[in-house]
Structure formats: structure tokens, C-alpha cells
Subunit: 341 residues, 2 copies
């Protein structure tokens, strides 16, 4: 089952936890300076390490970027399995993904290896453990570039040291609606945490989703980084929760009106843009999380969040569609998925 | 059963037909110059004529304006059973209404008698026949002021002659949305027909409802007036219908999106103003009339149209409410009535 169909702790605010490790192979140039043969060699080594491992081989799939359509690539970008950079790559590059989409290993992106683990809810430690396990297996088979002073060597110096990025995807409607998010953003910056809107820029993040992650990878241990992200995450979670309750108790009808109107529109509309659906799904998610809407399973919301995106929508329908056609099909997909609950 | 719960011909565009006759009693001053005793005498005579008639007495109710609450009065204004002027009257004045609310006879409004008959759909002739029947019964018992040259004598000279106003309440969303209504309005003026927004002014009629009626009562026969209003009504109906079909065929998804969103919002919202509900009910009515929405009975829409108005809402709930409270209860009433269909 796909990871996003499971639930995790603190999932009223935390949508997902993610750990990403950057790794490179000793004595092979970084992908930006690699030749075709060397790139092919990287792929071969990584595939060997994963697919010759009995515990892993049946759960993983290798996809060479040259072999898949642009819609398929874009769909993987939307599912956060690969980066836009990998999708645009024209050298030998690809990705190894687990069937539940929890694990993805990009090969020949900015670094030779980008190992990512995604978990629902607040599960940074679980994501770390899984990432670390994959890293250990790869390290046993591949000679990883490591320096005593600089730690793991990476193409971009901002990834040196641990090569680790720990991030939380947070749903912060109350902080965003009240504008309090601004304070949080500047505070995070001071504490070494970067924040970006998951869709759109900070100030106008669509769908009220924000991703926080560590800015620095060098000079802190993996454990320190995780603790820092978790602690700041917990403070943001607390602020968001108390603000939700405050807003609700100040004017419950106004609050419920907003939520139910969004549900009514999602359940009825015939034309729906990605932007509007993210906005309205945020309201409905808030309603479910606050116990106002009782008959909708959040798994359905997570599923919708993925399938409404342009490439996944086209993949679902098995054909390329214009933006206008997508808006019509998107409305239909949302109506059908909500009607089933 | 209340008249608005029945259906009539051309009801995809015509909500109701109305005939109103102005009559006065010979040798008694017009209500603006009447004294209390004379006013009481008018009421007595009219009540006698109606309640001593075997065919009528059980179907009618007399309400003295002094005896009912201001919410009750306002509710009757909203149901178009009495005018705001009668509701505000402080002399002896009242109304005789039939139980189905099809007939109302205002006593001591601007004239001694204002006989009104309301029918659903395009039924001007039926409304006229009923009005004429009431008029005949009253005339048999009461000495009506009539002049050979000026016809029925009325307080305001604009009502002289027939004393008749024939009107149609039309739902014209396509003409209003496209702005074509402007042309219709000016054309009507040239043809002796006045148009007013049923709620709000011409240019910004809320709920896209417009009432057309004859401007002149003198110099034309009752039959000519009816024919003129019907003919112009039919031309407007044709324009509205062809414009609806044109708009729909140009972009069916856009058209249905608007309709279903309004239905979704009406079925879900927790706060709903009168103005917004009229606007959204217009969309839903259009959807039902065009066969897009199939599972909603238009009777329910007609019922909602009455019960969402401020005084009727308060009457329904049996207590005075602030505007904010009404918006909450209005949303609830609409949800409940729609959920039943």
C-alpha cells in the first residue's frame, strides 16, 4: 500500500516526514562532470547493490529516465519520488523506487545517489532508520566518498557533512489564514530551519502546506539535525493547534461555514483548477482534523492530493489532456472520490 | 395547498401571474382622507360581502393590521399578500386572504379595496377570471365608485379606468447574466410595460427575478391589457429560452459548474444571507428548468424562496432573531429543505 494511504502520529498537522541523504561514489566525477560510460557504471553499481539484496529485490523497481514518458516523469515529480532536475536530465540517470513509494533512490541527479524515505505523519526517526538501513546496504557494496574533515562529499558544498536533509510537510491553515505564519517563518530562519511553501511561494503557499527542513548539514550529527527539526516542528504544531481552537471558538459558524462550503464545492463543481482544489482541500482537511467533518477518511484526501496534479491526472486517464480538459476531469475525480466516502 | 406549491404553464421562466384590481366605495372618502368610523364602515362592508357568501366564507380569513405583530405583517409583505404601505398603516385597515394565499383583498390601503389574485406560471387569464369573480361578488353587495368617462375611480389617477394591473414575475438568468436584459427593459418601456427587479433595482435585480406589468390602466379594456402583457411576456420568454440554450451549448461545463457549485453551497453552507441565497437559488432553478438537475422538485425552490426571507424565517422559528442569527437559521432551513428532495 502506498505510504500516503497510511496514517501517522500528529497527522492533524504533519502530513509527512522525509529524510534525504546525498551520497557519491569514490573516484567517479560528480554527475555534472561525468561521461556516459561513468554514468552507466554508477547505475550498474547501485542496481547491483539493491537488486542483489534478497531483502530488497522484490520490493524495488528501477526506472531509467530515458525509458519513460514525460507525463510519467512529471507524475513522479508530483509524487515527490524524483526531482524536476532528474526528470529533465539527459545523461544516464534514473530512480529506484519501492513499490509503496516510501523509498526512492535517485541515481545521477546532482549527486550520484539521493536516498529518500517518506513516512506519513511525524515519523522523522522511522524515516531516518529506514534511510540509514538503505545507506548501510549501499555502503557495503559501493565505495562511498567520505572525508574525515568534511564528512560525506557532495557536489554542492551545502550538502557536505551528513548529506542529510530532514523535513516535515506541515498543514498550517490557521497560521496561514491569520497571517501568523510570517512570524514563524522568520523565527525558523534564526533557528537554522528553512521553510518553503509546498506549492507556490512562502507568502502565498497554496493549500496552506509548508515544508520545514534543516539548513545546515555540516557540523551537526544526524541525531542533532533530527532533534532540531522535530523540536521546531513540535512548536509549530502547538501554535497551529491552539490557533485552530481559538479561531473555532471565536466564531464556530463562520469556521464551519468555510469548511462546509469548500466540501460542498468540491463535491459539486464541474470545473476545478489545481490551485482551487488545493485551497478547498485544505479547508476540508482542517474540518476532518478538527472533528467537524466526521464521514470523510483522510486517506481519501491524501489520495486526492496526489491525483489532482496535472501529470498524475493524465496518467490516471491514460492520455494527454489540455489544461481545460484537466480541470473538468479533476472536478470529476474529486467528486467521485468524495462520493465514495 | 399554497398557490406557490403548485406548478403552472411556462414555469421554466414564469414564476407567477398576478392580477390586481383597485376599487373604491361610493360616497366614502379615499383612505388617505377617511376618518376612523368611515374606515371601520369600509371593513364592515367588505367583510360582510365575503363572509356572508357561502362559497367563500370558509376559505377566507380577515386580519386587522392592528391585531398582528410586525413580524407577521412583514412576513405577509414578503409573501406579497399585503403591501408595505398597508403594513405601515395605522388607521383601520386589514386584509382578507384565502387559505391558499391565492387571493388577497387589502382593505383601506391606497384605495378601499385592492383585490389581488396570484397564480403559479403563466396564468394571467385564470388570475383575471378569479379576480373578476371576486369583483362581481363585491359589486353585488357594495356600491362601487364608477364613472362613465373615467371608469373605476381610484385615489391615484394612474389607476383610473380598469383599475387593473396585470403582472408576470419572470426568472431571467440568461438575459441578466449576458446583460441583454437592458435592451428588454428599454423595449418594454416603449410598449407601455414597466419592469422592476423583484428584489433590488432593475440593473442589479437579485435572484434574476423581474416583474413586468402594464403601465396604463385607462383607455384599454381589461382584455387588451392582458393580451399586451401576455404577448410581451411571451417574447421575453422566447428570448430567455434561446439565450439559455445558446449559453449552455457554448460551454456546457462552465454552465453546469456554475449551477452545481450553487447547489453545493446551498446544500452545505452554515451562514447564508438573503441576497446570496436568492442568487444561488436562481442558478439552481435554472439547472432544474434546463433538466440539468433532475432530483430537485421546483416546489421546494418556491418554498425556500418564501421561507428564507427575514420575517418568514422568524415566523417559522417563532421568535425574533438578529440578522446574524437569521443567516445561520436560513442556511439550516435551506440545507434541510434541499436534503429532503
Amino acid at each position: 500500500m502506498s505510504w500516503y494511504l497510511n496514517s501517522g502520529p500528529e497527522s492533524d498537522v504533519v502530513i509527512s516526514s522525509r529524510i534525504r541523504l546525498a551520497r557519491n561514489i569514490k573516484n567517479i566525477p560528480f554527475p555534472s562532470r561525468i561521461n556516459k560510460e561513468q554514468a552507466a557504471e554508477v547505475i550498474k553499481e547501485v542496481k547491483k547493490a539493491i537488486f542483489e539484496n534478497d531483502a530488497f529485490k522484490n520490493d524495488f523497481l528501477f526506472l531509467n529516465m530515458d525509458d519513460i514518458t514525460s507525463i510519467e516523469k512529471q507524475a513522479m515529480v508530483e509524487r515527490h519520488l524524483i526531482s524536476p532536475e532528474l526528470a529533465a536530465g539527459n545523461n544516464e540517470c534514473g530512480v529506484i523506487v519501492s513499490r509503496d513509494e516510501k523509498i526512492s533512490i535517485m541515481v545521477n541527479e546532482e549527486d550520484h545517489l539521493r536516498i529518500q524515505c517518506l513516512y506519513p505523519g511525524m515519523q522523522i526517526d522511522a524515516a531516518w532508520e529506514l534511510c540509514d538501513k538503505i545507506d548501510s546496504i549501499l555502503s557495503r557494496n559501493i565505495d562511498i566518498a567520505f572525508d574525515v574533515n568534511y564528512g560525506y562529499l557532495t557536489c554542492c558544498p551545502t550538502n557536505l557533512g551528513t548529506g542529510m536533509r530532514a523535513s516535515l510537510l506541515l498543514h498550517l491553515p490557521a497560521l496561514a489564514m491569520t497571517g501568523h505564519i510570517g512570524k514563524i517563518l522568520s523565527l525558523c530562519g534564526k533557528l537554522g530551519i528553512s521553510v518553503r511553501g509546498f506549492y507556490g511561494e512562502h507568502s502565498q503557499a497554496i493549500g496552506n502546506m509548508f515544508q520545514i527542513s534543516n539548513q545546515v548539514t555540516l557540523g551537526n550529527s544526524e541525531s542533532d539535525i533530527r532533534i532540531n527539526v522535530k523540536n521546531i516542528g513540535k512548536q509549530i504544531i502547538d501554535s497551529e493547534r491552539s490557533l485552530r481552537n481559538e479561531m473555532y471558538s471565536q466564531n464556530p459558524y463562520r469556521f464551519e461555514d468555510r469548511i462546509y462550503r469548500s466540501l460542498g464545492i468540491l463535491s459539486s463543481s464541474r470545473i476545478m483548477t489545481t490551485e482551487e482544489s488545493l485551497k478547498r482541500l485544505s479547508d476540508v482537511r482542517l474540518g476532518v482534523d478538527m472533528g467537524i467533518i466526521k464521514d470523510i477518511d483522510k486517506k481519501v484526501l491524501n489520495e486526492i492530493l496526489i491525483f489532482i496534479q496535472p501529470a498524475n491526472l493524465q496518467k490516471l486517464f491514460g492520455k494527454p489532456m489540455s489544461a481545460d480538459e484537466r480541470d473538468i476531469i479533476r472536478a470529476e475525480v474529486i467528486r467521485n472520490k468524495l462520493a465514495k466516502t
